[in-house]
Amino acid sequence: MVLGVRLPISESFAGNAHDKDNTQNKDNTQDETDSDTPAGFSNAVTKSYQTSVQPLLKKHCFQCHGDGDEVHGEVNFQKIETEQQIKVAFELWSDVLEVIDSGTMPPETEPRLTSTEIALYKAWYQRELVDTIQSLPDVLRPRRLSAHEYRQTLRTLLGFELEVSIVEAEQTIVEKSLVMKLLPVDPPGPSGFKNDTSANPLTTNVWEQYSFLIDDALAQWLSIEGRENLERITGPVVGEHLTSTQCEKLLKWTLRRAYRRPPAAETMATSLAVLDGKRGAELESALRIELKSVLMSPPFIYRSLLATVDDIEIVSGQVGSTFSYGRVDDHELAERLSYFLWGDMPDDRLMRLADEGKLRDPDVYASETARMLADPKSQNLANNFGVEWFSLNEISKVSNNPPVSHALRQQPIDFLNYLFTEGRPLLELLDSKVTFVNPHTAKFYPGDRKRMAAYRKQRGIEVEAVPNQRLELISTPERGGLLTMPGVLAMNKGPVMRGTWMLERVMGEHLPDPPANVGQVKPNQPGENLTFRERFELHRSNSTCAVCHNKIDPLGFAMQAYDAGGNYRPSGVVNGNKRKPKNNKKQPQDTNNSATAKTVDTSGRLPSGEIFDDYAGLQEILVKSQRHTVIENIVKRTLSYALARELTIHDMPTVADISSKLDRDGNLAVQEGTYHDLIRLVVNSLPFTHAQTQSPKHD
């Protein structure tokens, strides 16, 4: 086991629902006897895999999930051989555990695993993927600022926003931010979040856009019109040009902020030397080019580039190698905290605390975290983390009318902001009596809308975007929480997409893409009178489909009392997955389906056995018996966003630890964990506060 490293993770980190009883009390110092099989760095892993797991897989799984004629569900066990491949696939092993435990795999037509075989797998899983997995931070890795972070950072640095200079009109879409307009749209990284730019390298095109933006920024910053802003840094400017003292001051000021840490003395000297012996316009021109160089330099456009770690502990790894990790320095910690909570560079106060070496003082760190959460900039959590987690940008496609799609999209964002920044309990995500509506969304809340403040359109205005109001839900029992918001319901078309989305985004499951040859759900044949659900169930009744659809469908069909537009129609015409009749929007939906008179069947049974009649029943299950799954997903997403990277197996102990602390083992008597608790735990976790040192360079 790891030598001499004390981990913050202890008692119940292996809070895996399947094997709670087997969980050992994990104190890492106890395992010194196992020192030949240290965490995750052992050939023993490969050996035990070959002896206990691979034979099982060969016997039961390779036929469909190996190098056979066809690889099902994008799972190919035959490709997994090395220790690295085994560890990277940790989520797959947890899925395997689940499907063999629940009996969904192997399919019904194939022989089942015997109980001995299942026990063998479980023991291996517990030993190699739970018990012996050490909590480790990632290596310090530079990461390019995402477009959004770049925008915010530049704005904070300059004191103004780079905006497209045009006049706006209602009902039109304009990207006002010049940064967002010019920089390529960030694809979500491997973590699923856009702040994970690990797979999105600098290109010459991006370089040119940076150059264009910085030119624009400096033109404004140094312009006569912008003097007032600039003088806050340089002091009063007399005459046309800055004095050389003022230029130096501005350059120093910029270097420290652009690097988000005090620059090395050598860097500072090289930079200031550029100004030497110049005056007037020549001086200002030299200053401008030097400022541009600073704002185009690697420490500005990459995070963590100059970061260091201290209090390093050496950990023994494989034979002949070691690795080490320690606390990240104050400025790196400030940057991590600030980009997590604000999507922005640290402010002056945070920078000063880092300069003074005070930020790692637990009390200071806690109060700074609280201060930052109370700052309006923490709206970033909802605007970016929340939007990307729940794919809320999809809502923009629901309506072509910008004020309407704005209202539908802004509702969940305002709600998430309320949860995050006001420190609401975690599961209010699904079950809340508070929502945020405006006149465009009020119709979905017929029982409560009368308590909304009146809105009067001005004469001559046709439609306009309107801010949301907070509304307590008293007489709208069919709404509450994120899942029943009209925009969220409408962005996912039909029960399968709704179910898949819930499974992935709320329950944290990973689903493979469906096979390509599934075809369409057959319409009712003459004489048949089946509901869409009945026809769909026929369609997907084969066992391959069932693996995923047993999980997806109960979730999706539970939402069928809400139509494609998000309206509540418990007994009305609801038909998910319908095909739009061509050329006539007003035609009744899915004319093949004569079963519209039947009441919508929203009942279901989860693979875990719980049954429910409708969404209200499902919600009850999600916040009670399935709460741990939901909470664990909330923790994983939050940690992944905070770290701006995909989680690895070495983060799982942290996830388990935070989840169990927030869940309080499901003891409802104890007050539930809140989003503030979650954020506090995340920013104090090992992967957030620590890093492995980089490997020495190899020439």
Binding site: V164, A169, N401
Partner: protein
């Protein structure tokens, strides 16, 4: 070359005398080896949103060379000799904003697989310039009817993204290292500085930092190489000293800055083809700087939302659109280009997608051509066609002018005659008789239909009858709409209707029958 301009003067001199700009030998230099071809001819389109209020726009009467410009035309009346005003253009009864906008440069709204006429012309004239064409606009996308936001379409018939920020356009054209040597030198210094920094960081970096820095340096190196190759082949223009437009305080400043840039881009031969929309075709813009608080589109429905106050506000906005046309023409005239002005060597198309902005008739749409186009157009004329003409015919004529010959365009097969010296007698309106016959509670009138030019009477139509006062038509919205009175405005019709007397004059209160003397029936399908 020190031709630094005072920005305020540069941007705001429209009202004063022409700007004494130094003559730049640029065009001669560019045209070297092709001197016999003369200066390049440019094609510029200016689009006005939300149609017009026909009584204020239309010229009712007059002849080809002897005509009086309408009240709305007054802002650019001083350019009369440079204008070719076309009447009875467009042949659709009712039209959506989106379709009428598509037709503006594409001829027909179903012409969705072809490039718009500006792009076909750009293919012909845009070669060798920095920007084959520029597609510009004033406001953002209107996603509800996406077609309202575009007039220019590419060869697949897909809308071409537009740009609306004058500063951005200025920087792209005049400040890019591509064409600006001082910007290039500056970029070189920056590249030297950052690679120096990155290398020194790299000396102490660990593996992961090192990897990032290597990637960074490789981008820096390829940028350097690119700069070198540009420097070798560059087509520079010395504009580094030209002042960049300020961020606009209001729409007027934004549009004037853009018109300045357009003229400058055309003059410096950075591009020869520009389309600019003064707004989306159903613009919701609020003209607060004119003291108007209502949205433009709301006001443009002046029949339904009728009040004198609304109409006054609408006319303020329309006049502003006309002033911008004047601004463009004045600016283009101020640039000396070879032995004439920039305008002399350009064809400017100005107009809107629809005529009557409340009724959405796409007939009698405002269309004006300006500039001689180096002799391509014969200006100083008012050309009224007898029948409503397809826009596709105008486009076909323009294509022919620019030697971009097409046999047909947008279902039109013969070019519109009358733009130059060509004979268009067959298309002229033939003389007709006007008369009134009264019967038992009904009246039948033949004569030219028009809207009342009394602004308090936006819902009143008149039929002019020779030798007597015009017959008033004061009908409900239903009749106005069903018989599409707006479609027939400006043309001779025969109308039968119920009549009552008001102040001793007959007034038609219900239309029973309407026949067009020369024209077609309005299209019943939405177009």
């Amino acid at each position: 070359m020190p031709w630094q301009l005072d920005r305020r003067r540069f941007l705001r001199s429209a009202m004063g005398p022409l700007l004494p700009l130094p003559f730049l030998n640029l065009m001669e230099r560019k045209a070297s080896g092709a001197a016999a071809d003369g200066p390049p001819i440019r094609f510029m389109t200016l689009f006005k949103p939300n149609g017009v209020h026909p009584p204020s726009w239309s010229i009712n009467g007059g002849t080809e060379f002897d005509f009086r410009m309408s009240p709305l035309m007054q802002p650019f009346a001083k350019h009369k000799q440079d204008l070719l005003i076309l009447d009875n253009m467009g042949d659709f009864g009712f039209s959506s904003h989106a379709n009428s906008t598509r037709r503006f440069l594409s001829g027909h709204h179903r012409n969705t697989k072809s490039a718009s006429v500006d792009q076909l012309i750009a293919d012909r004239i845009g070669k060798g310039t920095s920007y084959r064409s520029l597609e510009l606009t004033t406001e953002g996308l209107f996603p509800n009817q996406i077609g309202c936001s575009y007039i220019s379409y590419d060869s697949n018939g897909d809308p071409i993204p537009r740009e609306s920020d004058p500063q951005l356009i200025f920087d792209r054209i005049f400040r890019s290292p591509m064409r600006n040597p001082s910007k290039r030198r500056e970029m070189k210094s920056v590249l030297d500085r950052v690679s120096e920094d990155a290398k020194s960081l790299s000396r102490t970096a660990g593996a992961e930092d090192r990897q990032t820095l290597d990637q960074y340096l490789s981008v820096v190196r390829s940028t350097e190489k690119r700069l070198e190759s540009i420097a070798a082949t560059s087509n520079d223009i010395p504009k580094a000293t030209m002042e960049r437009p300020l961020a606009p305080a209001n729409l007027n400043e934004q549009v004037e800055s853009m018109l300045d840039l357009i003229s400058l881009a055309l003059w410096t031969d950075s591009t020869r083809c520009v389309t600019y929309m003064l707004g989306n075709s159903n613009s919701r813009m609020i003209f607060d700087f004119l003291g108007v608080k209502e949205q433009h589109h709301y006001l443009s429905h002046f029949f339904r939302n009728f009040s004198r106050q609304n109409l006054d506000a609408l006319l303020k906005i329309s006049l502003w659109h006309m002033e911008k046309f004047d601004y463009l023409l004045t600016r283009m005239k101020s640039y000396r280009d070879h032995e004439g002005s920039l305008l002399d060597h350009s064809v400017v198309l100005y107009g809107s997608g629809m005529g009557h902005s409340d009724n959405h008739t796409a007939t009698r749409i405002p269309i004006i051509l300006a500039g001689q186009g180096g002799g391509l157009l014969k200006t100083g004329r008012y050309v009224r066609y007898a029948e409503n003409q397809q826009l596709g015919r105008l486009h076909l004529a323009l294509l022919k002018m620019f030697d971009a010959d097409h046999d047909s365009f947008a279902y039109s097969t013969s070019p519109l005659p009358g733009l130059n010296d060509s004979d268009f007698t067959p298309y002229r309106e033939q003389p007709f008789q006007s008369w009134v016959k009264t019967g038992d509670g009904t009246i039948t009138v033949q004569g030219r239909l028009r809207l009342s030019d009394n602004l308090d009477e936006a819902r009143i139509f008149l039929i002019d009858v020779q030798g007597q006062p015009p017959i008033r038509i004061d009908v409900a919205f239903r009749d106005f709409h069903d018989f599409n009175l707006a479609y027939h405005c400006g043309t001779p019709v025969k109308i039968t209707g119920s009549v009552t007397e008001k102040n001793g004059q007959p007034v038609i209160t219900k239309v029973q029958k309407l026949d067009s003397l020369f024209g077609k029936k309005p299209g019943s399908a939405n177009g």
